[in-house]
């Protein structure tokens, strides 16, 4: 058909040659360097929800000892309660607590999304992307809301 419209069909050997040229231009194997991870690999939104779920979970686990220490002191005595309140007012502490609050909120929202996915709800691509965006936004919104209530 193509031949009739004046475009010569490629010979098989031509095609193979072109394919190998294209392959030669790409450096293979492709190693996941830090540079590649940061600048080249573009995660889809559900991928971001997933990796942030992991990061936030790990952060919450590691921060457990710190949070328990504050809970312990705040309940031990009135002086301890005031001390924790002052301590939480310091900006590096406040910033860390805000980050942990986000970690909790994101983990919460993303987790609920995963529960629905487990029940086969919202597993088609468009819905999955939509709920992924919703989980990220809801996590940030909850953080902002609770953050303003706390401080």
């Amino acid at each position: 058909m193509r031949g009739e419209r004046g475009i010569l069909p490629h010979r098989r050997s031509d095609i193979i040659e072109r394919m190998s040229e294209a392959a030669a231009k790409k450096i293979r194997p492709k190693y996941l360097s830090l540079q590649a991870l940061i600048f080249e690999i573009r995660l889809p939104l559900p991928g971001w929800v997933s990796i942030l779920h992991r990061v936030s979970g790990a952060a919450l686990f590691l921060a457990g000892v710190w949070l328990l220490w504050m809970l312990d002191r705040s309940l031990a005595s009135e002086a301890g309660f005031d001390a924790v309140k002052r301590y939480a007012g310091l900006w590096p502490v406040k910033l860390s607590l805000l980050a942990l609050l986000w970690a909790y909120c994101h983990h919460f929202c993303a987790g609920i999304r995963f529960l629905f996915l487990d029940l086969d709800r919202g597993i088609d691509k468009d819905t999955a992307r939509l709920t992924a965006g919703a989980a990220i936004v809801a996590g940030l919104a909850l953080t902002a809301w609770l953050g303003t209530l706390l401080w």
Binding site: R54, G57, F61, G64, V65, L68, L75, L115
Partner: protein, 114 residues
Amino acid sequence: MVSRVVVGAHYGLRDWLAQRVTAAIMAVYTVVVLWVILAGPPLTYTAWRELFARGWLRVATLLFAASLAWHAWVGVRDILMDYVKPDGLRLALQVLVLLAIAAYLGWTIQILWG
């Protein structure tokens, strides 16, 4: 007539389910406690103390902590299995994580009933 089970120690499904059940328990606790705190008086030391003096909240918090312990164990173990390849190092880290979780739990009980 040999029936062999080829793969797995069969903790996969149990942990998968536990991860989800504990998550649901913690989610309910989070919403309830947040509601109680927000509906209550401003957080002074007395109000804070009285909140944790309630028996049901102590028990609920213990259930939350127990759920968290199991949930965190499955989660952190999955992370270690994914990223830490040398067996010895992974085992050492997993033991450390288990000890940390046990310590967290013991400390929580001490805080609640100490």
